[in-house]
Amino acid sequence: MDIISNLLLGFSIVLEPINLLFCFLGALFGTLTGVLPGLGPVGAMCMLFPLTFKFSPVTGIIMLSGIYYGAMYGGSTTSILVNIPGEAASVVTCIDGHEMAKKGLAGTALGIAAFGSFIAGTFGVIVLMLLAPPLANFALKFGPPEYAAVMIAALTIVTYLAKGSMLNAWMMVVFGILLGTVGVDIFTGLERFTLGIPALRDGLGMAPVVMGIFGLGEIFINIEEQIGKANILKTEIKKLLPTLQHWKESAWPIFRGSILGFFLGLIPGGGAVIASFASYALEKKVSKHPEKFGAGAIEGVAGPESANNAATAGAFIPLLSLGVPSNVVMAILVGGLLVHGVQPGPLLISEHKDIFWGVIASMYVGNMMLLVLNVPLIPMWVKVLKIPYPILFPLIILFCIVGVYSISFDVAEIYIMFIFGLVGYLMKKCDFEGAPLTLAFVLSPLMENAVKQSLKMSDGSFSIFFERPISAVLLGIAFLSVITTILPWVRTKVLEFKSKTVEKATD
């Protein structure tokens, strides 16, 4: 009963005209950024982040969340029609989605992607609504050692799931931790690593750092690699509503994708990208006709598109119940809450019911809006895709500049974004990922406080982290994720060494 009354409270909040408007704008802008290759939800959220200062926290978070799940919807359009993923989570949709489009089934592919996203998104919100409150209650038992362990485990799992080298991911995590220590130390009041620059006294802002790495850095790469003209498929988009046969083929993939996606969304660093790949692999594995995959199998669109949308809802759980962001998008939401003086964590659900239930209700409304909007708006998105990148990128940079400037009306913030844009560009060139750095940067101050408090509590003994069961389990998970990555590497090296010795001996 409690859930129903709280949900009604959420709906009463989201149905206020201002919240409804920003839910719509967020979902629409998110879809646009999902459609446009080279501008992901992170860049889009950063661009609109300063706008949230003007509204109540609930309106701001509703808008930012709308961008996130809107981008997941929009990404499929570009994948299916252009064979270029609008954002990373739609990479896998290109494989069968574009093949379906080439066979004249573009409408069906877009339709099933939209319906699958809607079903999975709604499923994710329901589970989020049911799981987050009890988890938050459980998290009330957490003290500084447990929080330190949660953050260490989160950062370790992020490196474990990194796409490239684990060494590179660890370097970015540590670099992120260092960036998070810039500014005044709250325990002593001493300035750290500020180089005498007043803008750094409060630490590096999250928006300029994230916008620099994910926004400007991405644009620099695109300019340098010069995106060619998008080759939009010239096909008539008809029959957006899937037939009964299509539904039969897609029902189980949507169901499996929803469950798999939601739970992968919970894992730090997991999120929508891994969910979509895992769902594709699962569908291929369970299919009676795996040979159809890659040649336009509808299951290859329905599963991954459902999984990436369910993952967006799953990713909210660690943030809303523990206050720990599981990916960069959630880190931006943390920033959005902190700006308004709202501390994300277990107390958020009880102390800020309006925010929690408002956001939950907005997800129902937003998913419905996206379904109603996206299908008729597909021709418009196709037109948007025709805007050449040389016209688009100056606009994006200008909005980034205005966005960053409006945070504190200080040009220094633009310089910080600019510097991190160059850092982000070099990181991409050197195959370093931005996500571990950003997560570590956001978690660093929290982790530092938790570690220092724990050590003070135990009078300098590290055993406090292992004596308490929750922190011991979490650190065990972190340790296991490191070991499971190092062991295969050591094994390969040993085998290489053995084969070399055998070769030498035979010579």
């Binding site: 540590v174 931790i177 100056p394 200008l398 400037y405």
Partner: protein, 152 residues
């Protein structure tokens, strides 16, 4: 053309310098002790860890020989260089010239010299962008943009 290996070495050396500087600064700030950690405690150990990881990575890069080029072409790298310069100077002159002038110059330079648009479309897009962004940011959202020479 510069090789990817060279860029990787430069980036890693940069990270190594960051770690050395952070170790020195953290030490100067005071590391404290385990039962009373100082302001430089976390950064000191994190910087040592970063230094070790960077050295391992540098060793790995030096051993593996990659002939891959770092940049796609001279022309595109020049475009990137122009973009970086335009952003830098726009930021530098932002407060002095004001948002309207700077955004007009910024859009014109990027559209014409990097985006290679015709003068007519450059002016049309610039005009539309400056007017709409002024309306949205200044008048609707009431964001305090730099006034500069024009006084509004």
């Amino acid at each position: 053309m510069v090789s990817k290996k060279k860029v990787r070495i430069i980036f890693n050396v940069g990270l190594l310098l960051v770690s050395v500087w952070t170790i020195a600064e953290s030490y100067a700030l005071s590391i404290g002790s385990v039962n009373d950690p100082g302001p430089g405690f976390l950064s000191f150990f994190a910087a040592i860890f970063l230094g070790i990881l960077t050295l391992i990575n540098l060793g790995k890069i030096l051993v593996t020989s990659a002939n891959e080029l770092a940049f796609s072409s001279y022309k595109n790298t020049k475009n990137l260089f122009y973009t970086v310069l335009i952003i830098f100077f726009s930021t530098l002159l932002m407060n002095r010239l004001g948002f309207i002038i700077i955004s007009a110059l910024f859009m014109t330079c990027l559209l014409r010299f990097v985006g290679k648009q015709k003068w007519s479309s450059t002016f049309a897009i610039t005009g539309a962008t400056v007017i709409s962004s002024y309306l949205i940011f200044k008048l609707i959202l009431k964001i305090q943009l730099p006034v500069g020479l024009l006084g509004f």
